[in-house]
């Protein structure tokens, strides 16, 4: 049986991996973008990003000083047995990761802005637990930086405004400009509820960036024709991918959430049994 200690240590190792090594699909997308850019400033910016990724991996240090707010997705198999509080074990992992990786202590009280220095507080780390088939526990960490989170947006469109969904998504990216560290990855959640759409948008960001369908590719093309470019300094590459998740919604509503992710699309998973 998996122990409290095993879960806590897995969380530490997942944060270490996510913060210091970018997933291969994202690196490849950045390399492709580097080849396609002919604007000198844009090329230099992507070049610096690629050198930074190498430096972080080589030195085993976080690729970005904003190590994000700790977010954890847990998928627990219905035949997986647990004799401790999973939430407590994940929290312990975040506490240790903050010291050991190290993570920047980003979590503060929203009003007093007081910083406990541990990345632990009410509702933080943000933990989502889904019960799935099987007998394993899958843990995924997704540290989310504020530069990109701050330019994300959600809108409750009217059911008659289906034709405005694309416009809203592209408008959010346009308004974000260079602030979220482009080239970005655009996570979109369409449907369910106010909170559900936001969760779908965030979960979309966990997908492989090459797994786009026709609708997503079409959106990516439009977003890249905006010309925001790497760092917001102009160029062809505003986004590396657009990933959309949809869910059914109430007949009277049409929620659309756009969660912007910087080029540092950090994520790491492990399966425990």
């Amino acid at each position: 049986m998996v122990s409290f200690e095993e879960v806590a240590e897995t969380v530490v190792e997942l944060f270490r991996k996510a913060e210091t090594e970018l997933p291969e699909d994202v690196i490849q997308a950045l390399k492709n973008a580097y080849e396609q850019e002919d604007n000198e400033v844009a090329r230099n910016t992507i070049g610096a990003i690629l050198r930074n990724i190498e430096a972080a991996r080589g030195l085993k240090v976080p690729m970005c000083q904003d190590t994000g707010l700790p977010i954890i997705f847990a998928e627990i198999g219905r035949d997986f047995s647990l004799d401790f509080n999973l939430r407590d074990a994940i929290i312990e992992g975040v506490r240790r990761a903050t010291k050991e990786v190290p993570l920047r202590p980003n979590a503060v009280h929203p009003l007093t802005r007081e910083n406990p220095g541990t990345n632990i507080g009410p509702h933080v780390p943000l933990i989502t637990v889904d019960v799935v088939e099987g007998d394993t526990l899958k843990l995924t960490v997704m540290p989310k930086g504020a530069g990109s989170e701050n330019v994300s947006a959600l809108k409750m469109l009217l059911p008659s405004q289906v034709g405005n969904v694309e416009r809203f998504i592209i408008e959010v990216v346009k308004n974000a400009g260079g602030k979220p560290c482009p080239p970005i990855i655009v996570g979109v959640g369409i449907g369910t509820t106010f909170d559900g759409a936001a969760k779908l948008a965030k979960k979309a960001l966990l997908r492989n960036v090459t797994s786009m369908d026709e609708f997503e590719r079409g959106l990516l093309e439009k977003i890249n024709s905006l010309g925001i470019g790497p760092g917001g300094l102009g160029g062809k590459t505003t986004a590396l991918a657009v990933l959309v998740e949809t869910g059914y919604c109430h007949t009277a509503s049409l929620p659309v959430a756009v969660n912007i992710q910087c080029w540092a699309n950090r994520r790491a998973s492990a399966v425990l049994r």
Binding site: A56, Q65, G177, G227, G231, L233, G234, C262
Partner: protein, 196 residues
């Protein structure tokens, strides 16, 4: 585009000489300051107190680094730029109090800052998220002010060597690369919307 290798304190003529698109490398002293440090600077000004550091002689870096304490010494782990736009409402008031200023950040700043920089300062863009790369150029952490604000918000004093490449995003003559890009992006946005 021209390349400049600058050493702090950076002279006023050197600052006025920089043009948008130029590449800049910095050697010398940089002080990190983000939202909370800016608010505190303004409190000092309002109370008529002297800041504990001279803004004119250093480079203000929009950055919340990861620092570890090793045997009483500070070491920088990762130190890339933070989103400068958050300092848009605060920076013009700081600029009123100084004769010259060099700011490094990412993502650009607004028209108010472009106007406030006229004749006295520049805004340099460093690659967003390049924290590991930036930390390599930090040779020592000489000091820290306002540590009570917490690690990301405190004012850390870095001695850097060849920090860069930075791109001049806003120069002292009212030019802004971001403004130019934004204009084109607005035009492209309208074109995209008019497509069937």
């Amino acid at each position: 585009m021209a390349e400049h290798w600058l050493k702090t304190p950076i002279g006023k003529n050197e600052i006025l000489n920089l043009k948008v698109g130029d590449v800049v490398y910095i050697t010398g002293t940089m002080i990190t300051a983000r939202d909370e440090a800016h608010v505190r600077m303004l409190e000092y000004f309002d109370e008529g107190r002297e800041l504990p550091f001279r803004i004119e002689d250093v480079v203000i870096y929009h950055c919340g680094p990861i620092i570890v304490e090793d045997g009483g010494k500070y070491r920088t782990i990762s130190a890339g730029p933070t989103t400068s736009a958050r300092m848009n409402p605060l920076t013009p008031r700081v600029l009123e109090k100084v004769d010259r200023m060099v700011i490094v950040g990412k993502g650009g700043m607004n028209e108010d800052v472009v106007n406030a920089l006229k004749g006295k300062g520049v805004y340099l863009a460093y690659t967003g998220g390049a924290g590991a790369l930036a930390a390599q150029t930090v040779k020592t952490v000489r000091d820290v002010y306002w540590k009570d604000l917490g690690m990301p918000e405190a004012a850390w004093v870095f001695e850097v060597e060849n920090f860069g490449p930075c791109i001049v995003g806003i120069d002292s003559r009212g030019n802004s690369l971001y403004k130019e890009v934004e204009k084109k992006v607005e035009e492209n946005f309208r074109k995209i919307l008019s497509q069937p």
